[in-house]
């Protein structure tokens, strides 16, 4: 499964809270409706990204996991 995206952000190797902080910055830089592809290896990144999108109102369009590598597609909603 893969999605169209407008920008890519690699947070591999980074620990909490850096993937969230970098994602926030990157999504702020998108136009409304554009999608960020974010890659992380922090095992806590799935619940964290879900919580972050739920609180900020941005949309987690999709995510996948492949042997410890998490890929998220986040759409800027507002």
């Amino acid at each position: 499964m893969s999605f169209n995206f407008d920008q890519e952000l690699d947070c591999s190797g980074l620990a909490c809270p850096m993937p969230i902080l970098k994602t926030k910055k990157a999504v702020d830089g998108l136009q409304i409706g554009q999608v960020l592809k974010m890659i992380a290896t922090d095992p806590g990144s799935l619940p964290d990204i879900q919580a972050w999108t739920s609180k900020t109102g941005h949309e987690l369009v999709g995510h996948e996991e492949d042997s410890g590598k998490f890929t998220f597609y986040i759409k800027r909603a507002k």
Binding site: A15, C16, I20, L21
Partner: protein, 159 residues
Amino acid sequence: MAKRMAIISLHGSLDAGYPPLILATAAVAMDMEVAIFFTFYGLEIIKKGNADKLQVSPIANPAMPQPIPGISVPNIIGVLPGMTAVATGMMNGWMKKANVAKLSELLEIAIESGVRIIACQMSMDVMGIKKEDLIDGVEVAGAAAFIEFAADDAIALTF
């Protein structure tokens, strides 16, 4: 839903420096307004150039992992000269291995993203700390200033 996070940072050790800065930066990334009130030893975190020099003591800290797994070092060993430096070196090593950001980086992100850094005036007077000893971007204020912020629908945390 709470819109603010109000944090009191009381301790100036390496381990105690992380939770307030991690939660503050994460909360501000989640569109919350955040203020950290640095009081007493917490002021060490916001002294110029000091964030990455904080130490951790093994004394009275039995939860600290052992330097050699499986070999239990009696806690009393912690009083020997140099043990604080050893424990600090160990902890910095674990942090680096796990690729955790340095305290100075988190502090910089906090300020950049609009976290209010409030230094307790009374603690500064007690401990002889001047405003110019602290990093740029700090507000110096008293309890009332923090309470006014916290009273408006805030999650309040103490570390």
